[in-house]
């Protein structure tokens, strides 16, 4: 059993309770996708690519009144310690659904009836908090593809470790900690679009945990904005 926090409140990877892991994001990394982003969030390494709006196959899935959003979250076989079977697991299918429902509040698909926007996410290396990191990249890939959006979606987990509410749970804290609460948030609209919880929290801890997560999302948002600007400034400079 790892000691998850020392007497000075420093976590097993050296962070303070309210500190994010290192995050670096690059927008527009793929040639074929209409929009894309690559994120390194701690040791997570995740690619997101977006195609669309484009025709829906099979056709009966199309909606006459609006575009639809589809999402596939997938892990490469080498992304985790034990080799993962390449076929999608039940966990991956559920995460695909909650990610889709976390992005839906942000995208505006009314003007693209009978089309689909496909969001494909590939986890190349996983390290705790993949769904949040995946969402951060997917949100930017949608923006990069030019899909109209009400807001970016920023995501970050909070949790409970060594009886403390902490920001951005890493892999060890997820395995051996007391609670993990992934949150996705639209910072300008003030809306939580993904929220899950595994673990036990008192009502007071619950409130603090949500608030901590939202604060983390706001920090992530600034990094996302910068990544987006980096791409478009660079383009304009050319």
């Amino acid at each position: 059993m790892t000691q998850l926090m020392n007497e000075n409140g420093i976590r097993c990877d050296g962070r303070r309770v309210d500190q994010l892991r290192n995050i670096s994001i690059k927008v527009g990394v793929l040639k074929n996708a209409d929009g894309s982003a690559y994120i390194e969030f701690g040791k997570n390494k995740i690619l997101a690519g977006v195609f669309g709006p484009r025709d829906v196959h099979p056709k009966h899935m199309a909606n006459q009144d609006s575009g639809i959003l589809r999402c596939r979250y997938h892990m490469s076989p080498f992304s985790v310690t034990e080799r993962k079977n390449p076929a999608p697991s039940r966990r991956e299918i559920e995460i695909s659904k909650v990610i889709k429902e976390a992005l839906l509040p942000a995208v505006i698909l009314k003007d693209f009836p009978r089309t689909v926007v496909d969001v494909f996410i590939e986890v190349l290396q996983a390290d705790g908090g993949t769904r949040c990191a995946a969402l951060d990249a997917a949100s930017l890939a949608l923006a990069d593809a030019g899909i109209p959006m009400r807001d970016l979606v920023s995501a970050c987990a909070a949790g409970k470790v060594a009886d403390q509410i902490v920001l951005d749970i890493n892999n060890e804290e997820d395995q051996e900690g007391q609670a993990d609460m992934p949150i996705a948030y639209m910072p300008n609209l003030g809306k939580i679009t993904l929220m899950q919880l595994d673990g036990i929290l008192t009502p007071a801890e619950y409130q603090k945990c949500v608030q901590t997560g939202i604060n983390g999302c706001k920090l992530v948002y600034e990094i996302q904005r910068k990544a987006l600007m980096d791409k478009y400034f660079t383009n304009e400079a050319q």
Partner: protein, 268 residues
């Protein structure tokens, strides 16, 4: 298709209009659940079972308990697996086939509600560490799908577990052998209660019916334990919640859950 979209739009306007007056389509208050009936022991061939009716939603859940191999790296724990199937007779829109993403989410949320509250002491289900453990399979057959499958399926699963009898296995020649006629109660530590809420406009309502689900903005399922803690969450739907709303939802989940927990405790 176009027609049903227009109908759904009209229905949403009607429901919203009523909610502004503090009313719901079926006359319930915002924090009222539909009538809940729980019958246990309905499948005598299973080790535990329950039929739950929550309004017009109906579910039969059976628990099977049998020796199994532990998961790798979890050799000190028994196995717990929840599955669900929306039977095609339960819903005109469900086709036979592999589970949809909706059903996979449903089964995983029910599973986490039981697992994360630590309802069962899985360490008590080990026969030989790393080699042989007791497996508990909780399978739910949804026979009438009329809204809020999350809570109905959770109540049926918890009720089937609470009422089950655990057969005894002994190890002979390194293999588990059933000891006839000896059973015990399951190692229950707490009772999880799932409360699902829908947001429609600015209104939070408990236990949405299928009409309400069809036009809701967002959904939040919160599972609490006997000690008054919050143990599992799942947000769904096409829109989000404010911070204030998710705090309010947690308060509702705790208060409404207390009543349900009393109904479940009687089954122990």
């Amino acid at each position: 298709m176009a027609n049903s979209v227009i109908l759904a739009q009209l229905k949403r306007e009607q429901i919203l209009e009523l909610l502004k007056e503090g009313k719901r389509l079926d006359g319930r208050g915002f924090e009222d659940q539909r009538p809940l009936s729980i019958d246990v022991g309905v499948i005598p061939k299973a080790n535990g079972s329950a039929r739950v009716r929550l309004g017009d939603t109906e579910i039969v859940t059976g628990v099977k308990i049998q020796p199994d191999k532990p998961f790798p790296d979890l050799g000190d724990k028994g196995i717990l697996i929840c599955t669900a199937e929306i039977l095609p007779l339960a819903d005109p829109n469900t086709e036979p086939g592999p589970p949809s993403e909706e059903v996979i989410e449903l089964a995983r949320v029910v599973d986490r509600g039981i697992r994360e509250t630590e309802m069962l002491d899985l360490h008590q289900l080990v026969l030989i560490e790393n080699k042989s453990v007791i497996g508990i399979f909780i399978d739910s057959s949804i026979t009438d799908a009329n809204g809020n499958l999350f809570d109905a399926c959770s109540y049926a699963s918890v009720a089937a577990l609470l009422s089950c009898t655990v057969p005894k296995y002994e190890i002979k020649d390194e293999a588990p052998v059933l000891v006839e006629g000896v059973t015990s109660k399951p190692p229950v530590k707490t009772i999880p209660v799932s409360i699902t809420m829908a947001r429609i406009g600015d209104h939070i309502i408990v236990d949405p019916s299928s009409y309400e689900e069809a036009c809701m903005d967002a959904r939040l399922t919160i599972t609490t334990n006997t000690e008054g803690n919050i143990c599992a969450l799942q947000k769904g739907g096409i829109d989000g919640f404010t911070f204030e709303q998710v705090v309010r939802c947690s308060e509702i989940a705790l208060s409404v859950g207390t009543k349900i927990r009393k109904q479940l405790e009687k089954l122990m």
